[in-house]
C-alpha cells in the first residue's frame, strides 16, 4: 500500500477527504446512520449566477433571450426542481434507485479522475516509470542482412544438403545472386527493427537472426517459406530510448496508471470506514455471472 502514497497521491486523498468532510458538514447521507436523513431546509435562495446560467442556456437553445414570462417560468421551474429534490431526498427516494446510485458513483469516480489529471508528472517521475516498465518502451534491436533462399518445396528431400552446398559456395566467394532460388521478399534487407523483419519473415526467423555470427555466411535458417542462408551485415542492440523520444507516450501511460491507483486507493480508504456484512443465501452463489452476460445475446 505504501507506494500509493507518493507525494501527489497524498494530495489527492487530502482533497478527497476534504470533500467528505464537506458532505458531512452539510448533513448529507455520508455522515448519517443508514435509514436516517436530515430535515430539508425551508429556505431556497436562487442566486443571480444561476439565473444568468438559465438565461444563457435558453438563449443558446432558442437563439433568442427569454421573454419576461419565460424567464419567470425558468426560475419557477428551478424552484420546483429544488423543492422536489429536497423532499425526495428527505423521504429517501434516492436510496433504492439504481440509476441514481450509478450516477452518484460515476460522479465520485469523475472527481478522482479529475484530481489525478491535475498534476503534471515531472521528468524524474516519467523516467522512473519508464525504467519500471522497460518492455513497453524498448527500442527493438536492428539488423541488416543479405540472404539466399532455398525452396524446400521445390527441392524436396535434397533441400538440406543443397543448402549446405550453397553455403560452402558462398563461403568460397560465390555471387549470392547466382545461387539459390528466387523469392518475392527482398534478398537484401537494410537495417530494420526486429518487429519489421518479423512481419515479413515471421518471428522465429527474425529471432534467430539475433544469434547468428555476423559478417559471415551462416545457416541454413528455417522460415515459413523454406531455408535461408544468411549474411548478417550489421546488428544494433535494443535499448531503452531517451525520455524525449517517448515522453508523451510515457506520460499517457503514467497518468492512466495514476488515475487507476488513485481511484483504487481512494476507494480502499473509503471502504475501511465501513463494516460490510454480506448475508449469503443459497441462491447467491452462481447467479451473477449469468446476469452479467445476459445482456449480450440477441
Amino acid at each position: 500500500m505504501e507506494k500509493f502514497f507518493r507525494e501527489p497521491l497524498v494530495h489527492f486523498l487530502l482533497i478527497g477527504a476534504g470533500l467528505f468532510l464537506l458532505f458531512g458538514w452539510r448533513g448529507g447521507p455520508a455522515s448519517l446512520p443508514a435509514g436516517q436523513t436530515g430535515p430539508p431546509s425551508a429556505k431556497i435562495v436562487v442566486p443571480q449566477s444561476d439565473i444568468d446560467q438559465m438565461t444563457a442556456t435558453f438563449t443558446r437553445t432558442w437563439q433568442r433571450p427569454p421573454t419576461e414570462e419565460e424567464a419567470k417560468g425558468l426560475v419557477e421551474d428551478f424552484v420546483r426542481n429544488e423543492i422536489y429534490y429536497r423532499e425526495a431526498l428527505a423521504i429517501g427516494l434516492d436510496r433504492d434507485d439504481s440509476v441514481i446510485r450509478r450516477r452518484m458513483r460515476q460522479k465520485m469516480e469523475f472527481i478522482f479522475e479529475d484530481i489525478a489529471a491535475q498534476t503534471e508528472p515531472t521528468d524524474e517521475e516519467l523516467l522512473a516509470y519508464m525504467k519500471k516498465h522497460p518492455d513497453s518502451y524498448l527500442v527493438d534491436p536492428q539488423i541488416a542482412f543479405r540472404h539466399v533462399y532455398v525452396n524446400a518445396a521445390k527441392r524436396g528431400k535434397n533441400a538440406g544438403t543443397d543448402a549446405l552446398e550453397i553455403l560452402a559456395k558462398l563461403n568460397a566467394g560465390a555471387d549470392p545472386d547466382g545461387v539459390g532460388d528466387p523469392l518475392l521478399l527482398a534478398s537484401e534487407v537494410p537495417l530494420s527493427p526486429l518487429w519489421d523483419i518479423s512481419k515479413q519473415f515471421g518471428e522465429p526467423f527474425s529471432r534467430k537472426l539475433l544469434e547468428l555470427k555476423p559478417a559471415t555466411w551462416t545457416g541454413p535458417v528455417q522460415s515459413g517459406f523454406g531455408l535461408h542462408l544468411v549474411f548478417v551485415r550489421k546488428r544494433v542492440g535494443g535499448r531503452l530510448p531517451d525520455l524525449k523520444e517517448v515522453r508523451e507516450i510515457v506520460k499517457r501511460d503514467l497518468m492512466a496508471e495514476r488515475q487507476k491507483e488513485l481511484k483504487d486507493a481512494a476507494y480502499a480508504k473509503l471502504r475501511e470506514r465501513y463494516v460490510v456484512i454480506i448475508e449469503k443465501t443459497k441462491a447467491d452463489n452462481k447467479t451473477s455471472a449469468a446476469t452479467l452476460r445476459g445482456g449480450a445475446q440477441p
Binding site: A117, L184, L185, A186, P190, E203, F225, R252, M255, A296
Partner: protein
C-alpha cells in the same frame, strides 16, 4: 459532469493529452510506365536497390471495424472503444467484451475504426445514464432494462426502433448535438493517439449506413487527413433532413468536405450480397436514371469495393459463374441485411463484384464512363472492436459470437416471415485489406487505395503481385526482382492498359508468396471479363500457375487442373504444408484477346485447404457441429483488376 465517459475511465485524461503526431506528407502519385522507366535508366546504378520508388511490400489492415460506439455493436454487448480497437490491432493483448483475453498472431499495419454515423456514441450514453437520456421515457426505459439484466431485449428494441426511425429525436445524437460531437471527437482522438507513422496507421473514418428496406448500401468513409481537418466536419448520416440514404448525397458530402478543408476522403461500398440487387444498378437508382454524371461521380469517390468480410464473400456466385468451381465460397444469399426480404436469382447479377465489374464495362460502352471500376479489398465488419479474422483466433462478428461452445449451434438471425435464417457457423473469419504503399502512413496508404493498388484476402497475409503489360516474357518470372520488371514493363493491379500495339495481346506477370505462418498455395488463377461486339458480357477463368506442378497436370480432355488435395484433419483441426507450393510465379498471355473488346483481368490466389474456424471450435470446445456445417476452406486473395480499354 455530463461528460460521455465510456468504460475507459482514462478517456478524459487522454483528451487533454492528445498527441498531434505529424505525419509526413507524401504523395506517391500514379506509377506509369514513363516514371517507372525514369527509375530504371538505361545504365542502372551498381546497387539494384538504389533509386527504387515503387512499393516493395504490402501493408495489411482492416478498413471496417466497429466498436461499442456503433449503436448495434453496443446493443449486442460490445464495450470496447475505438482506442481499445487500435491497441488490439497494434498487437497488444486486451480483454474482449466477453472478458476473454485476446491477441493477434502479429500486429496489423493499419486500421480504420468505422463506427456507424447514425447514432454514433448512442449506446455509451444509454448505458452511462446520460441526464438527457434519462429525461426521456424511451431512453430511461432502455437504460433501466440494461441495468436490470434485460440488455438483450433492450438491444433488439433499440435496433428495431432505429430501423423504423422511431427513436425519440430528443435522445438520438444527431450531428450538431454535443453528444454526437463528443463521440466523433473521441473517435478522432483515438486515431490520432494510435497513429504511428512508419509502424502503424490509424485512419480516421466512419460508416455511412444506408439501409432502407433492409437493403445494404453501406459505405465506409476513410480520411486521408489528420484531426485538424477531420474535426471540422461531423459524419454524414442517413437520417433526414441532415442526412440521406442516397449514395449521391454522400458523394456530395464528400465533395463538400474536400472543398471546405482541402482534405481528401474516399468511400468503400460493402456487402452488395445483402443489397438485394441494389449495389450495382444499371438503369436507375433512387428513382433517377444512371447517367454519365452519376457514373463519373461514383467512379470518382468509390475506387475500392470490399469483396469479402464476416457476412460472406461477394466475389461471385455459383448461379452467376456456373463454370467457376471455386465460386461457392462463404456465400450469403438468403436475403437482405435484416432478412426481411428473401433473395431471388434475378438480384444476384447486381450485387456480386465480378458481375459488377462486367456491368461496368457495359455501362462504359453506353455512357463513356465505367462507374464500377473498383479495386478489391477485404475487411472484417466485426462489431467487437477486434479485427481478429484468423481461423484459429476468430473472435466473431458480434460480441455474442466471441468464442463459446454455443456459437457452433446458435442462430444468428431468423426472420420467420421471409424464411431467412442464418446460423452463427455461417459467419466467416474474413478478411483483411492488403495495400501496396511506399510507406506505412495515412497519406501513402490512402494514395495507394486511390490508385487501387490493393487486394483483398480472406484472412491470411499472403503477398500477391500482379502486373499487366504488352511485353512480359516467360523469363521475367525468373528474375530476382520481379517487381522491378513489373513496374518497368507494365502497370500494377488497379491500373489500365490502353492502345494495344498491333498484333500484341496483354501479358501478365503474376506472383504470390504464402503467409509466413500460413498455408502453402494451391494455384493462381486469372479471371477475365469482357464485353463482346453484341454488347454481351462474358467471363473466363484460367489456371495460370499451380503448386505440385511436377505431379499435377491439367486433364488432357477437359483442360481442368485436378484439385490440390487436402491434408486437413478436421477432428484435430490440423493440416500440413506437404502439398502446394510456398511461392508461385509466372507470366501469362491472354490466348483469346480481341483488341476491339473492353476487358478486365484480376488474379485469384488459392491456398491449400485448411481447417475453418468451426473446426477449431469443434475441437477446442468439444462441440458437435450441426449437419451441413462447413469445416474446411481454401483461403484466398483477390487482386484489383487491370482494365483494357480499346
Amino acid at each position: 459532469m455530463t461528460r460521455n465517459t465510456y468504460r475507459s475511465p482514462v478517456v478524459s485524461v487522454l483528451i487533454a493529452l492528445v498527441l498531434a503526431l505529424p505525419a509526413l506528407a507524401h504523395d506517391a502519385g500514379m506509377l506509369d510506365k514513363e516514371s517507372a522507366e525514369k527509375a530504371f535508366p538505361a545504365k542502372p546504378p551498381y546497387s539494384p536497390y538504389a533509386g527504387r520508388n515503387f512499393p516493395t511490400r504490402p501493408f495489411f489492415g482492416d478498413t471496417h471495424l466497429h466498436t461499442g460506439f456503433s449503436m448495434d455493436a453496443g446493443a449486442f454487448g460490445c464495450r470496447l472503444t475505438p482506442r481499445d480497437a487500435y491497441v488490439f490491432a497494434k498487437g497488444k493483448e486486451i480483454a474482449a467484451s466477453s472478458g476473454q483475453p485476446v491477441k493477434l498472431s502479429r500486429p496489423l499495419d493499419f486500421l480504420v475504426v468505422a463506427d456507424h454515423s447514425d447514432g454514433m456514441g448512442f449506446f455509451p450514453l444509454i448505458v452511462g445514464g446520460d441526464p438527457k437520456i434519462m429525461a426521456d421515457p424511451q431512453g430511461r426505459k432502455w437504460n433501466e432494462m440494461i441495468h436490470s439484466g434485460k440488455g438483450a431485449e433492450a438491444a433488439i428494441d433499440i435496433i428495431t426502433n432505429f430501423g423504423k426511425g422511431t427513436i425519440s429525436k430528443a435522445i438520438l445524437p444527431l450531428p450538431g448535438t454535443p453528444a454526437y460531437r463528443g463521440a466523433w471527437q473521441e473517435t478522432i482522438k483515438a486515431a490520432e493517439e494510435a497513429n504511428d507513422p512508419g509502424r502503424f496507421t490509424a485512419f480516421i473514418g466512419y460508416e455511412w449506413t444506408s439501409n432502407t428496406g433492409g437493403n445494404n448500401l453501406h459505405r465506409n468513409v476513410v480520411f486521408r487527413d489528420n484531426a485538424d481537418k477531420a474535426s471540422r466536419v461531423e459524419p454524414f448520416t442517413t437520417i433526414k433532413p441532415l442526412g440521406s440514404d442516397n449514395p449521391t448525397e454522400l458523394w456530395k458530402w464528400m465533395a463538400a468536405y474536400e472543398e471546405k478543408t482541402g482534405g481528401d476522403v474516399l468511400a468503400i461500398a460493402h456487402n452488395g450480397n445483402l443489397s438485394n440487387g441494389r449495389m450495382f444498378p444499371v438503369v436507375e437508382a433512387f428513382g433517377k436514371k444512371i447517367d454519365r454524371e452519376h457514373a463519373e461521380t461514383r467512379a470518382r469517390w468509390e475506387r475500392l469495393y470490399e469483396v469479402t468480410q464476416t457476412k460472406g464473400t461477394g466475389e461471385s456466385h455459383p448461379y452467376l459463374s456456373p463454370n467457376d468451381e471455386f465460386a461457392n465460397f462463404e456465400i450469403w444469399d438468403k436475403g437482405n441485411l435484416d432478412g426481411s426480404v428473401a433473395k431471388t436469382k434475378d438480384m444476384l447479377e447486381f450485387e456480386y463484384a465480378r458481375s459488377g465489374l462486367k456491368l461496368g464495362l457495359k455501362i462504359e460502352k453506353e455512357l463513356g464512363t465505367n462507374p464500377y471500376k473498383f479495386g478489391m479489398i477485404g475487411s472484417s465488419d466485426a462489431h467487437t472492436g477486434l479485427a481478429a479474422m484468423e481461423e484459429e483466433n476468430f473472435f466473431g462478428k458480434t460480441t455474442p459470437q466471441e468464442p463459446s461452445p454455443e456459437r457452433m449451434t446458435k442462430t444468428f438471425f431468423d426472420n420467420p416471415k421471409s424464411g431467412v435464417k442464418v446460423m452463427d457457423w455461417e459467419v466467416s473469419a474474413s478478411g483483411y485489406a492488403a495495400v501496396w504503399a511506399t510507406e506505412n502512413t495515412r497519406e501513402a496508404l490512402f494514395d495507394a487505395m486511390e490508385r487501387r493498388e490493393t487486394y483483398g484476402t480472406t484472412g491470411p497475409r499472403m503477398i500477391v503481385r500482379f502486373f499487366g503489360g504488352w511485353d512480359f516474357e516467360p523469363k521475367d518470372a525468373h528474375n530476382r526482382l520481379p517487381a522491378a520488371i513489373g513496374y518497368a514493363k507494365g502497370v500494377p493491379m488497379g491500373g489500365d492498359l490502353l492502345e494495344a500495339p498491333a498484333g500484341k495481346a496483354p501479358t501478365f506477370l503474376v506472383a504470390a508468396l504464402k503467409d509466413s505462418i500460413g498455408a502453402n498455395l494451391d494455384r493462381i488463377q486469372i479471371i477475365k471479363g469482357w464485353l463482346n461486339a453484341k454488347g454481351e458480357v462474358h467471363e473466363k477463368i484460367y489456371d495460370v500457375v499451380w503448386g505440385d506442378a511436377d505431379k499435377r497436370k491439367p486433364d488432357a480432355k477437359t483442360g481442368k487442373l485436378p484439385p490440390v488435395g487436402s491434408t486437413v484433419d478436421v477432428a484435430n483441426a490440423t493440416w500440413t504444408n506437404t502439398i502446394g507450393d510456398p511461392e508461385l510465379i509466372t507470366v501469362w498471355k491472354d490466348p483469346e484477346f480481341d483488341p476491339k473488346q473492353r476487358a478486365f483481368y484480376y488474379a485469384r490466389v488459392l491456398e491449400i485447404p485448411t481447417p475453418r474456424w468451426t473446426a477449431y471450435d469443434a475441437k477446442r470446445f468439444g462441440v458437435k457441429p450441426l449437419p451441413g456445417t462447413t469445416m474446411t476452406l481454401q483461403e484466398r486473395a483477390y487482386t484489383s483488376p487491370i482494365w483494357y480499354t480499346p
